[in-house]
Amino acid sequence: MEQGAFIIVIPMIACLLAWLMMPFDFRTNTTLRKRALVERLNALLPQTQCGKCSYDGCQPYAEAIASGKADINNCPPGGDETIRNISTLLGRDMKKLESEHEQQLQQHVVLIDEQICIGCVKCINACPVDAIIGAAKQMHTVISKACTGCELCIAPCPVDCISLVPVNVEIKKWVWTKPQPEFEVST
């Protein structure tokens, strides 16, 4: 009877010792590792804070992916590139962008029609990156270099003076086209 107890107790003590001998942060690593994962996922997102993924911003979406609540293909401004990067990080299969979203092929910024603007400050309050300048009853304008094209300012405008315009392609930012072969190996 006593021998039987030893058989159970000794391995238990050994396990406890092994656990104690681990470095401290290794023991508590579930939270640490998750936080690090959220940070790495967030770094892969485009930081437009547009909320098109149905979360409040990029960080909350990263948290949702990390905890398995959200899929990896819900970020339209990031598109295929972001999905690919996340799938590589998580070791998952590449996916197509969720069909409810529209693929954004060209970068856009917003433009305020200054003749129509009444200076209501509603768009300024909506902009997540402080890219709109102006004050109450003064004309507003967009700092196009800081604008991420998230479109969050368009809905609040009471006079519909904000429109989405494509960013001009300069030679410096031009990208070579990918060759499109007529014949492909079917896999």
């Binding site: 997102l45 485009p46 930081q47 437009t48 804070q49 911003g57 990029c58 295929d80 590139e81 690919r84 590589t88 997540p128 990156v129 402080d130 890219a131 800081a146 991420t148 392609v169 300069e170 030679i171 930012k173 031009w174 990208v175 070579w176 086209t177 990918k178 060759p179 072969p181 007529e182 014949f183 492909e184 190996v185």
Partner: protein, 507 residues
């Protein structure tokens, strides 16, 4: 003493088609009516216009200033009137428009007041560099890197060997060959000046084996101070890193510069331009351009910068239509332009007109490995191809995609007709675009964080003001607070009255 020559990996031996254009004496291209001068003809930051529309300018006058260190000024190619400063098509694979200055020629070709520098040997190397920069000299071999930057590297680091590159390895192109044959004295004198500017211990002029006439011309002029070397004809022996390997046996490491091996290299045309700049103060406003291929009369032209490609082709009795395609540069590395109205710029060395034959269809890669054998920089082209095709930017960087010199040897030998170089160019520009997007995201996230902090601070302040008011209301008896205020006001009034009476008394 003859230099022991080494070799580089891979490379190709192929038909050169040089005899088409290297027999004829070059001719001056007639003065065009209009010249289009792009503000960016070099690698680096575009220059900034310093003239306005309607201004009269003289030939050689500065019309745009250098902006930043890696930039050079630009000069008027002829005398006339500035008729526009705006976006025009430029020689670039994107076929996009870029800022240009347009000059309407007055036909007089009147020269601006230019100042020569006498006795370069007694001039400080630093001053010589400034002269070279002010004359807008960039690498005229094709890359277009501002020459003064490479000279400055030499002043800061010890230069063992200065190499003047006359190895024109790409098929069809003969502009350097003709330049040496016709202006050998410029090349040799310019070489000595560059040598002085970088204080190089040794100096080599390298030409290809199949340029005997140019070799003979140079041989007449050089002394013991310059070594003249014939390099075996093999493409791409004229590439900077490949020529260094051939002449010295040293390999420039990945991501490194020739100066790290104690070497500075310049093109023969750059040397000739340096001679003109120093002895006559003449800026770079014209260059030798080979016009060859289908044209009736293949030859080299001395073209004013800003002349359109169409004019150059016309000068060789040919009219480019949709049955032919125009390539700027050589057949291996050149770019196809569909708009013949683009201007000749400082880096345009050749205009090649070819028959417009549709490309053979791209077939699947069969992993034959031919591309690996010919790659002059020891890369794995077929791996890079897969990575670029699948947008795997991380893996292509790990396989050193940026060491690819885009020489086109791999595409040339590919039995499946895969446009490999185009894949690498796509891959490289994709990596750059990704980096830009990442920078943009960092910028946005910093602004987002700053905004949140600001909103939180505002909220905190609002709360604390509220809290203070609440505490004040609670603590003090309201009536006593009012009484105290009344007392204070009474005292003040009394004091005022008293001082008024005092002043009245004094009066």
């Amino acid at each position: 003493m003859t230099r022991e020559l080494h070799s580089f990996p891979g490379g190709l031996q192929m038909p050169t088609f040089k005899t088409l254009s290297d027999q004829e004496m070059s001719i001056l291209h007639p003065l065009p009516e209009r010249l289009i001068l792009p503000l960016q003809q070099h690698i680096g930051i575009p220059s900034q216009p310093c003239v306005s529309i309607g201004d009269k300018v003289l030939k050689g006058q500065t019309i745009a200033r250098a902006f930043g260190y890696v930039s050079v000024p630009m000069h008027a190619s002829t005398s006339g009137k500035i008729i526009d400063i705006g976006d025009y098509p430029v020689p670039h694979p994107s076929e996009l428009k870029a800022p240009c200055i347009v000059i309407e020629s007055d036909g007089e070709d009147k020269l601006f007041d230019i100042r020569p520098t006498n006795e370069y040997a007694s001039v400080d190397p630093k001053e010589l560099q400034d002269v070279i920069r002010e004359c807008g000299i960039i690498g005229l071999g094709g890359a277009g890197f501002p020459a003064h930057v490479k000279l400055n590297e030499g002043v800061e680091n010890a230069v063992d060997t200065l190499i003047i590159n006359g190895v024109e390895c790409e098929p069809y192109i003969t502009c350097d060959d003709r330049l040496i044959q016709e202006k050998a004295s410029y090349v040799v004198a310019g070489t000595r000046m560059i040598r002085h500017a970088v204080q190089a211990k040794h100096c080599v002029i390298a030409v290809e084996e199949d340029m005997p006439a140019a070799y003979a011309e140079l041989e007449k002029l050089i002394d013991d101070d310059i070594e003249l070397v014939k390099v075996p004809t093999r493409y791409p022996a004229g590439g900077e890193k490949q020529l260094i390997q051939v002449l010295t046996g040293k390999e420039v490491p990945s991501g490194g510069l020739p100066i790290h091996a104690g070497i500075v290299m310049h093109n023969v045309a750059t040397a000739a331009a340096v001679f003109r700049a120093v002895t006559r103060g003449e800026p770079v406003i014209s260059r030798y351009v080979t016009v060859t291929g289908l044209v009736e009369k293949s030859r080299n032209l001395q073209v004013l910068l800003g002349t359109t490609v169409k004019d150059c082709i016309k000068a060789c009795n040919f009219e480019a239509d949709e049955n032919c395609r125009v390539i700027l540069g050589g057949p291996m590395m050149g770019m196809h332009v569909t708009n013949p109205d683009v201007p000749v710029i400082k880096t345009t060395n050749c205009i090649l007109v070819q028959e417009n034959i549709p490309r053979l269809p791209e077939m699947p890669c069969i992993r034959c490995g031919n591309c690996v054998d010919v790659c002059p920089v020891n890369l794995l082209p077929q791996q890079l191809y897969w990575f670029a095709k699948t947008d795997n930017t991380e893996a292509s960087q790990r396989h050193h995609i940026f060491d690819c010199i885009e020489c086109g040897c791999c595409s040339y030998v590919c039995p499946s007709n895969i446009p490999l170089v185009q894949y690498y160019r796509y891959g490289k520009s994709q990596i750059a675009a990704e980096e830009r997007r990442r920078d943009g995201a960092d910028h946005a996230s910093a602004r987002f964080a700053a905004r949140n902090e600001r909103l939180q601070k505002d909220e905190r302040e609002k709360q604390s003001v509220k809290e203070e008011k609440r505490i004040a209301n609670q603590k003090e008896d309201k009536q006593s607070y009012i009484n105290a205020a009344v007392e204070r006001s009474k005292a003040k009034r009394a004091l005022n009255k008293k001082t008024l009476e005092d002043t009245n008394k004094d009066d």
